[in-house]
């Protein structure tokens, strides 16, 4: 209804007949007052709504709105005072029930009253800025009933007492509780907060403060967390049953603070049951609980968990990689690393929600301790070697991939990837040349992985080795096809032609080959150089193997699988029964250390020595003498005589490899410096160092001192010059 129309009524109102009666207002109000009483007394049945509405309508229309409104306030207030007294009089547990009953009554009455006074609500109240009937009824209920001196504290205490009893395991009337709390919420959020919530939170803080103190003294960490979790669930449930949803965050904050945050350190470090204990014993449930509870604590709850886990992993890892006992078995060493990684991967996935920050912490821990042991790159390569030689035999393709992926993961942690490459090349060479690799596919798969990880450069030489192997096969086929007839019954020869540079070969003195072999070798040489002009072939006699047919004293026939050196030694005994060390050395010209090792494997093996040494002993001395062991026996026809060769590098060898790595790094560092200076032209020392490290860290971690030396060398060779004014500045000389 628009204001324009209302105005029209106002103008015409004076015509109305009821205006004549001077007592009209008083009479009409009495009717309404009586009706309100009847409504509160549940006697509304039979009252005419139309009559009451019409009376209220007319009162407002005839400018008695004020009388109607103030009459309503007075009547309702007096009714509520009576109600309040009856509530106050209720004894013990009946108090809440009485309050609830009266509240429901009041609500219903209020709605009826509002309905019959609707015209006042619609017109008089907005124009005079008074409180609408419904709100007025709630305010009066609040002021007269809830805030009556006797009820206010009693209500609060009763509610808190019920919560307390429920926390102690008693069953309470949740329906009644919900109804009363709903009443407080209906009266306005400030009533709910001031008359209940605020006290509820205080009391809860005290309760949980005390309880947590008690628990922490008597429970182990796992039990404590279970209890805390249960309390949190209970409070969440409580809110959903009978509190304002907005209280959820507040009350859970209280529990979190009192039960978790205040005891975080103690919980994490608790002796025999804290975080470390859970990690050691793979207690996924407890760890998951700890994670979920600590995550709730805003101020770094997880940080503590993560830090403690990190430092524990670091300690464990450090112990593992620095334990001298572990250094004895590289394969076991790497397996233990993998086991450790698996263990924590599982914990993070099962208990820590695959939290990225925890994964990062785990990765950085591994990166930290793996690099504490300078031999880690070598050992990882040895582990691969072991797997590719025998460990992966008969394993399905998928499982091979799993193992290789794990190895790659460890590889990623390595700072000195170039050292790994060095060893990998050595080990791969041995595998390829000895034909000992389990699966060509697995070999290639790992190369592909390394390539993806480190780029083409890293693997080009490794790939070159595979190419050489393939080419050699073709060459040998060609050799036998063209010279097959000519070779007759001379020893059969298999040659692998290795490209210098791709293979980890060292220029070594060629030993004297037996004449029979030498002949075939020379034939091969001329065949090969005939098809490949301009090349040079040199024999790597330290790397080959030979199969020898041997007949011993009592006629026992065997085929001996030996190294080239061993062959050279054994062949001497075709023409002599007894040879001294000196004679062997002279005849073969095998380097002393290799010769000793070779003789050791032939003459000093515990069971089946091919040669006999005089005097008997473990070590080879320069004045020893050797003869064929006629009593040699073996169940097998084919006998493999392994060289006494340390799988793992000995200390001096290790030093040597190190040195070669350092040498190889120099040109790489120089190349990086030149690349950087070419694009930047002028740069200061610290920035060059930083850039070089950045460029090379995917392969190794360059030492700043070495970088400085390389810069100096480049200055000497006039690639760079120092700035004349600022000595720290370098210039690129084109």
């Amino acid at each position: 209804m628009s204001g324009q129309k209302k105005k029209n009524f106002q103008i015409e109102a004076f015509k109305h007949r009821v205006m004549v009666d001077p007592k009209y207002a008083e009479k009409t109000w009495k009717i309404l007052e009586h009706a309100i009483q009847e409504i509160y007394n549940h006697n509304a049945s039979g009252l005419s709504f139309e009559e009451l509405y019409r009376n209220a309508y007319n009162m407002v229309l005839h400018k008695f709105g004020e009388k109607l409104y103030s009459g309503l306030v007075t009547t309702m207030t007096s009714h509520l005072s009576d109600i309040s007294k009856s509530i106050e009089a209720a004894q013990g547990e009946l108090f809440l029930e009485e309050l609830n009953r009266k509240w429901l009554d009041h609500n219903k009455a209020l709605q009826m009253i509002r309905d019959i006074l609707m015209y006042m609500d619609r017109t008089f109240i907005p124009s005079t800025n008074k409180t609408p009937v419904h709100e007025l009824g709630l305010n009066l209920w609040r002021d007269v009933v809830i805030h009556s001196s006797k009820t206010q504290i009693r209500l609060q205490d009763t509610l808190l007492e019920l919560v307390h009893r429920e926390r102690n395991g008693e069953v309470i009337n949740r329906g009644l509780m919900r109804s009363i709390i709903k009443m407080l919420m209906d009266l306005g959020s400030s009533v709910y907060q001031d008359d209940f919530e605020q006290h509820f939170l205080e009391v809860s803080a005290n309760f949980y403060g005390l309880e947590s103190q008690q628990y922490i003294e008597s429970c182990d960490c796992g039990d404590y967390l279970k209890k805390a979790e249960r309390r949190l669930n209970e409070e969440t449930e409580r809110v959903s049953h009978y509190l304002d949803a907005r209280s959820l965050e507040k009350i859970t904050n209280v529990v979190e603070k009192e039960m978790i945050e205040n005891h975080m350190h103690r919980l994490v470090h608790m002796e025999n049951s804290g975080l470390v204990n859970m990690l050691v014993n793979d207690k996924y449930d407890d760890l998951g609980r700890k994670y979920n509870l600590f995550r709730r604590v805003a101020n770094g709850g997880l940080l503590i968990v993560r830090d403690v886990m990190t430092s524990y992993i670091r300690d464990t890892g450090k112990q593992l990689v620095t334990d001298p006992e572990r250094l004895k078995d590289p394969v076991d060493f790497v397996q233990r690393l993998l086991d450790l990684k698996d263990k924590y991967d599982k914990i993070i996935s099962l208990a820590f929600n695959n939290d990225k920050t925890f994964q990062n912490a785990l990765n950085s821990s591994f990166e930290y301790f793996i690099n504490l042991n300078a031999r880690s790159p070598e050992f990882i390569s040895l582990f691969v070697d072991d797997k590719l030689r025998k460990g992966l035999k008969g394993v399905s393709e998928e499982d091979v991939e799993v193992v290789l992926d794990k190895v790659m993961m460890l590889f990623r942690y390595l700072q000195e990837k170039d050292v790994f490459e060095k060893y990998y090349k050595q080990h791969l060479a041995k595998r390829l040349l000895a034909g000992k690799t389990v699966s060509d596919d697995a070999e290639r798969s790992l190369i592909v992985k390394l390539k993806t990880e480190c780029g083409y450069q890293f693997t080009s030489k490794l790939e070159g080795m595979f190419t050489d192997m393939k080419t050699s096969q073709d060459t040998m086929q060609g050799f036998h096809e063209s010279l097959g007839a000519e070779l007759g019954d001379s020893p059969s020869l298999t040659v692998q032609v290795l490209t210098t540079g791709s293979w980890p070969t060292q220029p070594s003195a060629t030993c004297n080959l037996p004449a029979e072999i030498l002949g075939v070798c020379e034939k091969f040489r001329s065949y090969y150089l005939g098809t490949h002009t301009g090349r040079r072939l040199s024999w790597q006699t330290n790397m080959g193997t030979a199969d020898l047919k041997a007949i011993f004293g009592k006629g026992q026939k065997h085929e001996l699988n030996v190294s080239t050196y061993q062959m050279c030694v054994l062949m001497l005994f075709n023409n002599a029964d007894r040879l001294s060390y000196k004679e062997i050395e002279q005849a073969t010209e095998i380097p002393a250390s290799d010769l000793k090792r070779c003789l050791q494997s032939l003459a000093c093996a515990r069971v089946k020595s091919v040669l006999r040494k005089e005097p008997i002993g473990r070590d080879i001395a320069e004045d020893d003498a050797f003869s064929v062991n006629d009593k040699f026996s073996s169940k097998l026809y084919k006998v493999r005589i392994s060289t006494v060769a340390a799988q793992r590098e000995s200390e001096p060898e290790n030093q040597e490899t190190r040195q070669r790595v350092e040498e190889d790094r120099k040109p790489q560092i120089e190349a990086a410096i030149v690349r950087i200076m070419k694009s930047r032209r002028v740069l200061d020392h610290n920035n060059i160092v930083a850039e070089v490290i950045k460029q090379l860290q995917s392969r190794f971690l360059p030492n700043p001192v070495v970088i400085k030396k390389r810069i100096e060398s480049l200055i000497e060779r006039e690639f760079l010059e120092r700035d004349k004014n600022d000595r720290k500045l370098y210039r690129y000389l084109a």
Binding site: K6, N8, I39, A44, F49, Y53
Partner: protein, 88 residues
């Protein structure tokens, strides 16, 4: 139509109009009369008496729920008052 779905509106002169309850409840006042909690006489009997609304006007109001119709100028004021009372 069922009896419960209908409501009887009685004019000042005692004329009775039986109309669809939903149509009648377009008036907020009649809506409250028929739905207010407790049991007012109107809710109990399903009828409302309007001692201050004439038959002519009440008829207009009942029809008005259905279609538009011409209103005689002399009735306009009375009709508007009734509309205000009924809060339609």
């Amino acid at each position: 139509m069922k009896k419960e779905d209908m409501v009887k509106l009685i004019s000042a002169e005692g004329f009775e109009f039986v109309i669809d309850k939903d149509a009648a409840m377009v008036s907020q006042t009649i809506y409250n009369m028929l739905t207010s909690p407790g049991s007012f006489a109107e809710t109990q009997h399903g009828e409302v008496t309007f001692p201050e609304i004439s038959t002519t006007i009440l008829e207009k109001i009942c029809n008005g729920k259905e279609t538009e119709f011409p209103i005689e100028p002399e009735l306009t004021l009375e009709l508007m008052m009734a509309a205000n009372y009924l809060h339609t």
